[in-house]
C-alpha cells in the first residue's frame, strides 16, 4: 500500500514531504546523543547530553504536522524541565550526603522593590483581564492572568479576603473539569461542537488566569507580609 494514501487530504503536501527527512535526522541525532551518554562517565555531563535526545524526541513529535503535535509538544517541554530540575537537585544532595555536611539553609527572600509597581495605575489590570477574556483560550488566559498578577503586585487589594482566593482555587478546578468535558463532547457527539468549543475555551481561560493569580497570591502571602 502506498504510504501517502493513508494521509488525509487536508494535510499540505509540503508537510508530507518533510516527514521522512525529519524522522531520519531525528533518529541520527538521537543516536549521536545516546553514544555520547555511553562515552561520558560523569553523571552531570550525562544530563547535559540527554538534552540532545529530548530535542530528537521533539522533532519526531513535530513531524506529525497537525495540531495534535503542538498539543503534545507543550507537556513534553514542561516535563523535561521538571525532570532536569529534579535530577540536578538529587545530584547536589547526593554530593552533600557524601561529604557528611548539612545542606545550607535557604536565604531570606526579599521582594522586588521597583518604582513601576507602586506608581502603575490599577486600570491596567482591568484592561488585561477584559482583553484576555475576549481572546479566550490559552493565550487569553495568560493575558488575563498577567492582569491579575499586576493587580496583586500594585497596591492593596480591597474587599478580597483570604477565603476569596481559596474559593478561586476551587473555581479553577471546576474550570479544568469543564475543559475536560468539552474535549470529551467532541468525541462523543461531534454535532455539539459549538457547545464543546465554548466549554473548553471558557474552561481553559478561567483555569490559566486563576493559576497565574494563585502565583501572585502565594508571593504576597509568603514573602510580602
Amino acid at each position: 500500500m502506498d504510504p501517502v494514501s493513508i494521509v488525509p487530504n487536508v494535510v499540505p503536501q509540503i508537510i508530507v514531504n518533510f516527514y521522512p527527512i525529519a524522522i531520519t535526522i531525528a533518529i541520527v541525532t538521537a543516536a549521536i546523543g545516546l553514544s555520547g551518554v555511553i562515552i561520558e562517565k560523569n553523571d552531570f555531563q550525562k544530563i547535559l547530553i540527554i538534552q540532545i535526545v529530548t530535542y530528537a524526541m521533539l522533532i519526531i513529535v513535530a513531524a506529525v504536522g497537525t495540531d495534535l503535535a503542538e498539543a503534545l509538544i507543550l507537556p513534553g517541554l514542561v516535563v523535561s524541565l521538571a525532570e532536569i530540575l529534579a535530577v540536578t537537585e538529587v545530584l547536589i544532595f547526593r554530593e552533600y550526603t557524601k561529604r557528611g555536611t548539612n545542606p545550607p539553609q535557604l536565604k531570606k527572600y526579599k521582594p522586588i522593590d521597583m518604582e513601576v509597581l507602586k506608581t502603575a495605575i490599577p486600570i491596567t489590570s482591568l484592561l488585561c483581564v477584559v482583553y484576555g477574556t475576549i481572546l479566550t483560550g490559552f493565550t487569553g488566559g495568560a493575558v488575563a492572568g498577567a492582569g491579575i498578577l499586576i493587580y496583586l503586585f500594585i497596591g492593596e487589594p480591597k474587599g478580597l479576603s483570604h477565603d476569596f482566593w481559596e474559593e478561586m482555587s476551587g473555581v479553577s478546578g471546576l474550570a479544568w473539569c469543564s475543559w475536560l468535558l468539552g474535549f470529551l463532547l467532541y468525541f462523543l457527539n461531534p454535532r455539539l461542537w459549538l457547545v464543546a468549543l465554548f466549554m473548553s475555551g471558557g474552561g481553559i481561560v478561567i483555569k490559566v488566569a486563576l493559576k497565574f493569580g494563585l502565583l501572585g497570591i502565594l508571593n504576597r502571602e509568603e514573602f510580602n507580609k
Binding site: Q45, I49, I59, A69, L74, E95
Partner: protein, 93 residues
C-alpha cells in the same frame, strides 16, 4: 523569489535540521566539552535554535514560544547546579 508559503518553510526546515545535526555533534564530541560543562551548555544553544526553526517551519506558534521561554530556565537550572557542585569541589568533569 522567496515567498512566505513556498520557500521560507523550506529554508527554515533545512537550516534547522542542519543546526540540530551539527550542534548535537558539537555538544557530544566538541573540543574541551568533557572538562568544562559550561562549554557544553553554550554548545547546547545551537541545536535548540535548530529545533525552534523546525517549529517555525511547521507553524507551531505556541510550541515555539514555550520552547524559547523554557530554554533560559533550563540554562539557569544547569548553571546553578554547576555552581553548587563546584563550591563543594564535587566531580564536574
Amino acid at each position: 523569489m522567496i515567498s512566505a508559503t513556498g520557500t521560507l518553510p523550506l529554508i527554515s526546515f533545512y537550516l534547522g535540521l542542519t543546526l540540530v545535526l551539527i550542534g548535537s555533534l558539537g555538544v557530544v564530541f566538541g573540543p574541551k566539552t568533557s572538562k568544562e560543562p559550561i562549554v557544553r551548555i553554550i554548545n547546547l544553544t545551537v541545536p535548540s535554535t535548530g529545533v525552534a526553526l523546525i517549529f517555525l517551519s511547521y507553524n507551531y506558534t505556541l510550541a515555539m514560544l514555550t520552547f524559547l521561554s523554557v530554554n533560559p530556565i533550563l540554562y539557569i537550572i544547569m548553571i546553578r547546579a554547576i555552581i553548587r557542585l563546584e563550591e563543594m569541589g564535587g566531580p564536574i568533569s
